[in-house]
């Protein structure tokens, strides 16, 4: 087994979605690591924005919350949250937003609110935070989540953050542009069919079989005709992640592949 963890592979894969000049709405965990990896590897010109109001951040340590003081010190701007949402996000200045959640369904809708009924929840989750507006208003969304029947159901229990809703042109019909572009799980990478807007497996991680993916997805998942193998992280990427980005392994604890 190669010396990298699945999380490290996910981080490396996510980082490749970013290009220099992108204005990126960063979250905590894998997204934060992916953006910082891209910044060091191939996208020195990208601009990190956190919903807490920090713009052009240069964190000197791994932020454990989106409001960490290290995001403020040395940043290019720190602005009121009213501006973050009105002038940056709603005004179309955010190129890429990263999102996770408890459930993502076949059409890229995300649930981070409740498992079960809203009024009598089986599990009460934290809720939207800024996720709903990022899903609605960022030019493009990248989702990271684990691959299981529980986390990738046919239909989410609650649509916290809109993807393509019930597919086809429903999202556009409600006046929304953008939408989820890519879903990265611990088993593979999915894109969305331009017509049906259904999640389609486009690459599969080394050592994972299509059967495994199908056995762990809540619907009869389609695979792309030219299904690829996800490129593993390079030694340089692994080194940056382990030595610079998450030296204590806070977000990438397990070293087991």
């Amino acid at each position: 087994m190669a010396d990298y963890t699945t999380s490290e592979l996910m981080v490396a894969r996510a980082s490749k979605e970013l290009t220099s000049g992108d204005v990126v709405f960063v979250g905590i965990g894998v997204p934060s690591l992916a953006v910082n990896l891209a910044y060091r590897m191939h996208a020195p010109g990208l601009c990190m924005i956190y919903e807490s109001g920090a713009v052009g951040c240069v964190p000197t340590r791994l932020p454990i919350s989106i409001g960490d003081p290290c995001l403020v010190t040395g940043s290019l701007a720190v602005v009121p949250m009213l501006d973050v949402f009105n002038l940056y996000l709603q005004n179309g200045k955010i190129d890429v937003g990263f999102l996770g959640g408890a459930q993502v369904d076949r059409f890229g809708n995300i649930n981070s609110t409740v498992i079960g009924d809203y009024a009598k929840p089986k599990v009460r989750l934290p809720g939207s935070g800024g996720a709903c507006e990022i899903a609605a208003l960022a030019k493009k969304v990248v989702i990271t989540i684990n691959n299981s029947k529980r986390t990738l159901p046919e239909r989410v229990d609650f649509v916290t953050s809109p993807g393509y809703l019930r597919g086809g042109r429903e999202r556009e019909s409600l006046g929304l542009s953008g939408g989820p572009d890519l879903v990265i799980t611990d088993m593979g990478v999915y894109r969305f069919d331009p017509e049906t807007r259904e999640m389609v497996l486009v690459s599969i991680h080394p050592g994972i079989t299509l059967e495994t993916v199908r056995a762990n997805t809540g619907w009869e998942v389609k695979a792309a005709a030219d299904l690829q193998e996800t490129p593993p992280p390079t030694p340089k990427e692994i080194k940056i992640i382990r030595d610079e980005l998450d030296p204590q392994g806070i977000f990438l604890r397990s070293r087991a592949g």
Partner: protein, 301 residues
């Protein structure tokens, strides 16, 4: 004239049973000392509103102070769930908690609408989310300039807003740097405002840099000198976020008993924040911020 008083006086005079209370601060400057005093004084039936309830509202819920919560993200940032919040919502203990749920953008707009004395503000957000189905406060309007429909959120007007800041003068002219959050909007939306600060400074310090003032004294009811008043959250330029505390809170609060033991020791067990600091000992010094001063600017003419 001076509005300086102790935390005990300020909370005693200005926070009332049944109030709609806001203690804002997005990760930064969360007024924990004020929250602890509200618990000590046994306020009841509060409606508590915040974007991120955080540990401060998890403690108020566990202490039985809250009847209802208005919020947009109820978790322990980077760690996990808020256990007291989940017990109240899932099991109704120690008492049922009514919830009214938005998103961060929605809460920010609610405060801005309230602060602007407007019944609502519109946004392009919310098409497709189920939140508008479970919360009837979301309403749609048609733009008079096009055939577009926009979702609206209603203005929020708290009875009392409490914010923590780096410094203020004795009349409440308050300056903040680092993350702003929504404190300015929440304060202007509110009937009464308490400002708790790391440092009370002479007005000449405030007047030397008027662009830093986010809350003017004319809307402030009380000023409380409360160093370290935001711990375990942080104050840019004063002390770091106590991430270990946030991580440890998960185990502390997982069972109602553990959380009650925490309140008994660290809230009911101390008379005020000064005693809390003393009890913390060396940890206080470990969190001290290093010095990275800004380049000063010239206000002359």
């Amino acid at each position: 004239m001076s509005k300086v008083m102790t935390m005990k006086e300020a909370v005693g005079r200005l926070v009332r049973d049944g109030d709609l209370v806001v203690m804002e601060g997005f990760t930064h400057l969360i007024p924990f000392a004020a929250g602890h005093e509200i618990i000590r004084q046994g306020r009841r039936d509060l409606t508590i509103a915040r974007l991120t309830p955080d540990l401060i509202y998890d403690q108020l819920i566990a202490a039985g102070c809250a009847r209802k919560m208005i919020f947009s993200w109820a978790g322990n940032p980077g760690v996990g769930p808020l256990h007291a919040f989940r017990r109240a919502v899932e099991k109704g203990t120690p008492r049922p908690l009514e919830i009214e749920e938005y998103t961060h953008f929605g809460m920010v707009l609610r405060f801005m609408a309230g602060a602007s004395n407007l019944p609502f503000l519109p946004t392009r957000n919310y098409p497709g989310t189920d939140l508008t189905k479970v919360n009837p406060a979301f309403k749609q309007i048609r733009s008079p300039y096009s055939d577009e429909s926009l979702w609206c959120v209603p203005g929020l007007r708290p009875d009392i807003t409490i914010v923590h800041a780096q410094r203020a003068d004795n009349e409440g002219n308050t300056q903040v740097w680092g993350l702003y959050g929504v404190q300015k909007e929440a304060a202007f939306a509110s009937q009464r405002v308490i400002v708790t600060v790391e440092e009370i400074v002479d007005a000449s310090v405030i007047r030397s840099d008027p662009n830093r003032t986010i809350i003017p004294g004319i809307i402030v009811s009380a000023v409380v000198h409360e160093p370290f008043g935001a711990h375990p959250s942080f104050v840019q330029g004063a002390y770091d976020r106590d991430n270990d505390f946030y991580v440890a809170w998960d185990a502390v609060s997982k069972e109602a008993g553990g959380l009650k033991a925490y309140l008994d020791e660290w809230v009911y067990g101390v008379p005020d924040r000064a005693a809390y600091i003393k009890k913390m000992g060396a940890r206080v010094r470990e969190l001290q911020a290093d010095t990275q001063m800004c380049a000063p600017v010239n206000y002359g003419f």
